[in-house]
């Protein structure tokens, strides 16, 4: 527990100070959308919010993951601390603690996002019962995607000295992720863009009918293939970056 507690001491509130504003923006956005709901919105509010949340997470979280990774890795680079830390603890432990710290923060973020979104719905007067399963799928996939992006960003932060480059990569990735949403569901090309894996958690497809000017939500089954690929990518990236971290001389 000591090394993990050390990581907490090192970061202080650095990670929360990154995540809290993102959470605030997302909640303000969804809160604003949920205000004064009409009867249809009251009946389908929570389902509608899954698509909004998916979009907002895809926009904000890739950059957030990049900033988190940059903060965690750069404080060691800036302070030349690896050559001291690696005489006191295993490199592997250091890597694992950083990953665990980021994962626990992201877990709290997604949990808080879900709970507060539920509260927003209650405040707005949604009558739809909370689709816990859909949200579990959405946020679970979001968490795994975000963790994957964090690991990739860790690699970029380790590899590139100038920490602006990893942030640019995160930003560009965010755009790529958004564009990938326009690809047909289940498209093979989607799997090449990890920034777009958030869409794998979507439980509904929004179909806009121009004639009736109506939006219809179509329930879609969970993309199992996508889920397996996401999990495989997460494990592979974790092992590869861990290996790179161990091999990197200090």
């Amino acid at each position: 527990m000591n090394p993990l507690f050390c990581e907490c001491l090192k970061t202080k509130t650095k990670l929360f100070s990154i995540l809290f504003p993102v959470l605030a923006i997302i909640l303000l956005w969804t809160g604003w959308m949920a205000r004064d709901p009409d009867p249809v919105m009251c009946k389908t509010g929570y389902t509608y919010m899954t698509t909004t949340l998916l979009l907002l997470n895809s926009i904000f979280l890739p950059v957030t993951a990049a900033v988190m990774a940059s903060r965690l890795m750069d404080m060691e680079n800036k302070g030349n601390t690896y050559k001291l830390l690696c005489t006191l603890q295993e490199k592997s432990t250091l890597f694992t603690c950083k990953l665990l710290l980021a994962a626990s923060h992201l877990l709290v973020f997604f949990a808080a996002e879900t709970v507060l979104l539920f509260e927003i719905g209650q405040w707005a007067g949604f009558t739809e019962s909370f689709p816990a399963g859909d949200y579990f799928r959405l946020q679970g996939t979001g968490f795994a995607t975000c963790l994957l992006l964090f690991i990739l960003q860790m690699f970029f932060s380790l590899r590139l000295e100038n920490q602006l480059y990893p942030l640019f990569i995160g930003l560009i990735g965010s755009f790529l992720g958004l564009f990938s949403m326009f690809l047909p569901n289940g498209s093979f090309f989607l799997y090449f863009c990890p920034w777009g894996y958030f869409t794998l958690g979507g439980s509904h497809l929004m179909v806009y009918e121009e004639a009736t000017r109506q939006m219809t939500f179509l329930r879609i089954p969970f993309n199992r293939m996508g889920g397996i690929i996401l999990l495989a990518a997460l494990i592979t990236a974790g092992c590869a970056v861990h290996h790179y971290f161990l091999r990197k001389e200090v």
Binding site: N2, P3, F5, C6, L9, K10, K12, K14, M75, K78, G79, N80, T81, Y82, K83, L84, L85, C86, T87, L88, Q89, E90, E249, V250
Partner: protein, 304 residues
């Protein structure tokens, strides 16, 4: 003699170049060992290999009689403290918070933090963010982190780098006091030879990754060849006389420069000069400085 650190044929290659080549370093227990060499000689690489931060291509490292392996590395290193190249710190944290992290990783009780901060005289600055520290203060914090837990061995790589003269003096005195006060063995690297002259008991000189001298500092000084400078009333005839007696010498700057002679031979030489009617004005013995010895050994101008 017991050695705190012992390396055997330690080698590290970067590409085709040997950064460290078959190095056998022996640091006696309780000593201050000055590890000397010009920039890029392989000092830091050697120290990193001792600490297991760099994997050697061949050779082994023994610390306190135990051969270091990936399995026992951390266990052995618990008895060491290090400050490699530049101090390690978290700028956004205070000095004390930095120490708390190291204390936690070393599993050292927190009360030792205050004691160590007192030794390096940082106790009044402990609640200041390290990013606001001067370089000297950061170096002292680095030393405090290394000393935390009273390790048996300290490895300090150029600890006076970037310090002002007062800071250098302070650091030197502090390092000098460590073996007697705390029973520590100190391996300190530097390219400042004069500094080692005032600090170390033993010295090792590394050049192009090879150890070219290792032993007591006094022995190193004995390597210095004495020179005799003789000033006479007639240097031309004196030079001729010396050459007739097959004593190698040269006329340089108004003096005759001879390689070191024994007292007896010097007395005979002076008598011979006086008998030949050449007045001896001055005889001066010159000893090589540590810098000159170093230059002699490495054939390279040291960076000072």
């Amino acid at each position: 003699m017991q050695y705190a650190i012992e390396t055997s044929a330690l080698t590290k290659r970067y590409g085709k170049a040997n950064a460290v080549d078959n190095l056998c370093l022996k640091v006696p227990e309780g000593s201050i060992y000055g590890f000397l060499g010009p920039n890029g000689a392989g000092k830091s690489t050697t120290m990193k290999m001792i600490l297991g931060l760099v994997k050697p291509d061949s050779g082994s490292v023994k610390v306190l009689g135990k051969t270091i392996s990936p399995k026992n590395r951390l266990e052995i290193l618990k008895q060491t403290g290090s400050l490699i190249e530049s101090p390690s710190y978290y700028g956004h944290l205070t000095g004390r918070e930095n120490m708390q992290i190291i204390a936690m990783l070393k599993k050292v009780p927190e009360k030792e933090i205050a004691q160590t901060l007192q030794i390096v005289r940082l106790e009044s600055q402990q609640h200041k963010k390290v990013s606001h520290y001067s370089l000297g203060m950061k170096q002292r914090l680095g030393l405090a982190c290394a000393m935390l837990g009273h390790p048996k061995i300290l490895l300090l790589d150029e600890p006076t780098n970037g310090l002002d003269p007062a800071g250098i003096q302070e650091m030197r005195e502090l390092i000098r006091s460590l073996p007697s006060k705390y029973g520590m063995t100190v391996l300190v690297s530097s390219h400042l030879l004069s500094e080692m002259d005032q600090m170390a008991d033993y010295a090792g000189i590394i050049h192009h990754g090879n150890m070219i001298f290792q032993g007591e500092l006094e022995t190193l000084h004995m390597h210095s060849r004495h020179q005799l400078l003789i000033r006479t009333q007639d240097n031309v005839n004196a030079l001729q006389l010396l050459q007739e007696r097959k004593i190698p010498c040269k006329n340089k700057g108004g003096s005759l420069v001879l390689a070191g002679l024994s007292d007896e031979r010097t007395a005979l030489l002076v008598s011979a000069l006086v008998e030949a009617g050449i007045g001896v004005l001055r005889i001066e013995e010159q000893q090589m400085t540590l810098e000159e010895i170093f230059l002699n050994l490495t054939g390279k101008q040291v960076s000072l």
